[in-house]
Amino acid sequence: MHKLRTLYRNELYKIFRTRLMLIVVAALLIFPLLQQLGRRQGGGDDLHHADGSWNHEALIAMYDERISETLNFARSDVEDPLYQALEVAVYENTLASYRELAGRRPEIAARNFALDLVERISRLTVWLDPEAAGVDLPAHLPATELIARQQEIIPGIYEDPTRLPSEREAAEQQLAQVEAALADGSHLPYAELMLSILGEASAFGPESAGFYAGRRACYAHLAKRADVSVDALYDPYYIDNTASLLQDISDCERSLADGIDYTRRLPRALSPQRESDIKDQLAIHRYNLDHDLISSSYDQNHGESAYLSSWMLVLFILAVYISIVAASLISSEIESGSIKLLIIAPVKRWRIYAAKYLALITTIVTLSLFSWAWLQLLQLVIHGTQNMPVTVAARNGSAYLLPFVLRNLLDTACFALKLLFYGSFAMMMSGLLRRTAVSVGIAVGVAFLDFIATFVSYNIGWQYWFQVMPFINLDLGNHFYPTLLYRSMSFLGMPPNAAYIPLWFAVLYIVGFLAIFIATGLQALTKRDI
């Protein structure tokens, strides 16, 4: 036992007393710090001042950019020349009126709904009188034929062209109401107003119907609530996230009612396992909605999103570092010849291997815990206690709250497991190839591929064969709560589909592959000449 301990201490010393370790620790300290400081300054989307209040100029710039993008899209990507001319005119018009509005009333112009209104009025103007709006139409095309063409291109764009003047009047009225509501400082009339506008919005055509339906549901929800903050209501992130949450709830409910899984890209029949997963998901969604745990753009800078971005950075640094260390554990000693010192000593080779593996585990655990502690501290000190992100988990269809620190410890454990997997693989390659450069290259490459594969696996998760590839099924925590990786994928707009393979399989799988890696590496060291 004392031999193993001596070897182990030697390995630890070699790993920790290196310049590389110093660089990694510095990177782990500095990069998340800079990242979080930047977010505190209102970096990232720039929508907030440092004190958390809205940055109207930034908001205006953001909307300005959005409209310009749409304009460019209309110019380049719309094929029908007539439709293109109309769309370009609509958005040029929108941009002009929007800029005017922004100049006159920045606090209104900055707000989501104002943009909707401006666009709507602009659209009406153009459609009613294209020539007045400066659309360069073919000369022989009378207005009635134009509307007929529009209906061809976008079926049902207007049921009855005679209604158009009243539409315009209505829109202008609504704008006045909006301004009044804003002056009033109350958000409930606003939400109701939006609801009434959007009630008609499906007339804009099928391609926007889904979007408006989602928005409508969202405002319908918000109109019923008195506890939603005014800022949140004007917050595009908050609105979008509420809308998608409502969409998720509706998908889950429909899935459970129909026995068909609508929550994935391709709907398919609901298995009992999946059914209980969806029940859990539904419980989580409802809990989030009921407790208003909906990410806002303020959270983008200070809450979960900020926290996750640092974790992704840490994961990346550590995955590369652990791969490098593990991939040189055996080969570098053989290359440099220093392994002779251990071979000549009266120690069996499995002890050397065990000491190295234990040192690797220690390194992974130490660095993971170190990162965990540092990120907690950063979150607390930079963003304050009120911004500690929480996660809702569910079991047997009932949801519960995971406290920040506990959840992050669980995340760390999942994360460490992933690193252990990378490390074990890298160490096996090190023992097999005995060439540091090659094994480091392969190990880092595989870790990198795994990052990509993780994205892919979340998106083609229904393909069973993909689930049994090495490295894919490492997010064991997904069977219990939405893990770091799972939440990151959500934030990246890739709704995760994980945790559909049984837990026993995932455990068996991880243990199996780890055993293969360890056994192969051990054989490569103990059964071959040096």
Partner: protein, 348 residues
């Protein structure tokens, strides 16, 4: 004699199809220094690597201090100290840290012992520097300290004089002799420095192409009778082959002068200025430079001259003001014996 500390029986190692060590039987006894001689590629290092656990033997047994290496690995190796090829250590650690690590693996925690071996190999000044900064000679010294820190009963050194300066070599020789003759350690030394082996070893085992050719006491090997006897063992044409092979392979043994032509005896003439002395002899017509049988070393001349001219040589040197420090007939050295024995070998 005393008991065997190392017993090799039928030891065989193949690399692919090539047999590198072929049914080797060898004993190293307590209290002796056994020189392990052979040309490059003869299988010396391979044998040592098998004894120390680097390589797995294909057949045969290795018994160290009564323990079978394969059956009782850690106990067998616990009584061995050694250096294979170059002494390798963790370059990022200091010499002392390496020493402490290795000692702990042997269960030695005695700081006094560690200090003692550091002093023994003369590394007190530099032992706390990182090994990265060491010269090869310093590594050799530290390597020797490592090899003996746990008081091994068997010491195996692969080319230990590599990189040592002459004083270091002499120091090493003294240490090894004391360990063997006073403390009863069995020592196996392989080396290319044959003159060193001659000075250091008690017995010499000669290995060629993986096979043990002869084991002799060093003084036996220096006598002509023994060479004849070994020549007979090797076969009738070994002597003829030796002459051809010697010319082509002296580069391997660059510390020793090439063997002179055998017909005219070679004389070793020690003078203060060998160059001037040679010129004087040449001017007197006693020695023709074209003959190519002249070797000039810093302190001595090695010239092939007929014995009847030797009186004239001495007189010429004295007349030219050279004090003759020593004059003797060069004996056929171990070098030549070695080359003869392994004449038909190739380096693979």
């Amino acid at each position: 004699m005393m008991e065997n500390r190392l017993e090799l029986r039928g030891l065989t190692k193949r690399f692919g199809k090539r047999i590198v060590v072929d049914e080797l039987d060898l004993d190293v006894r307590a209290g002796e220094i056994l020189g392990f001689l052979g040309p490059n590629g003869a299988g010396k290092t391979t044998t040592i690597k098998m004894i120390l656990g680097f390589l797995f033997e294909d057949a045969g047994t290795i018994t160290i201090d009564g323990h079978d290496l394969r059956r009782d690995y850690e106990r067998a190796l616990s009584s061995v100290g050694g250096i294979v090829e170059n002494p390798e250590m963790y370059v990022q650690l200091t010499g002392r840290q390496n020493l402490e690590l290795y000692a702990r693996l042997h269960g030695v925690r005695d700081r006094a012992r560690i200090d003692e071996v550091i002093r023994l190999v003369g590394m007190e000044q530099r032992i706390n520097e990182k090994v990265r900064k060491y010269s090869l000679g310093m590594k050799q010294r530290t390597g020797l300290a490592l090899a003996i820190v746990h008081r091994p009963r068997l010491l195996i050194l692969d080319e230990p004089t590599n990189g040592l300066d002459p004083a270091g070599i002499r120091h090493l020789r003294d240490i090894l002799k004391r360990l063997a003759h006073e403390e009863g350690v069995a020592i196996l030394v392989s080396s290319h420095l044959l003159s060193e082996m001659q000075l250091m070893c008690d017995r010499v085992a000669i290995i060629d192409q993986g096979r043990l050719i002869a084991v002799r006491m060093v003084h036996e090997l220096e006598t002509a009778q023994d060479l004849d006897m070994l020549g007979a063992v090797l076969g009738a044409d070994a002597a003829a082959a030796a002459t051809d092979a010697a010319g082509g392979r002296v580069d391997d043994y660059d510390r020793t002068p090439p063997p002179p032509a055998p017909q005219v005896p070679v004389w070793r003439i020690d003078v203060a200025q060998p160059g001037q002395a040679a010129a004087a002899l040449e001017a007197a017509g006693l020695f023709r430079p074209a003959a190519g049988d002249r070797v000039e070393l810093p302190r001595s001349l090695h010239l092939a001259i007929e014995p009847q001219a030797m009186l004239q040589v001495q007189q010429t040197l004295l007349a030219n003001g050279h004090v003759l420090l020593q004059l003797r007939r060069d004996q056929e050295s171990l070098e030549e014996a070695f080359l003869k024995l392994t004449a038909n070998s190739r380096i693979e």
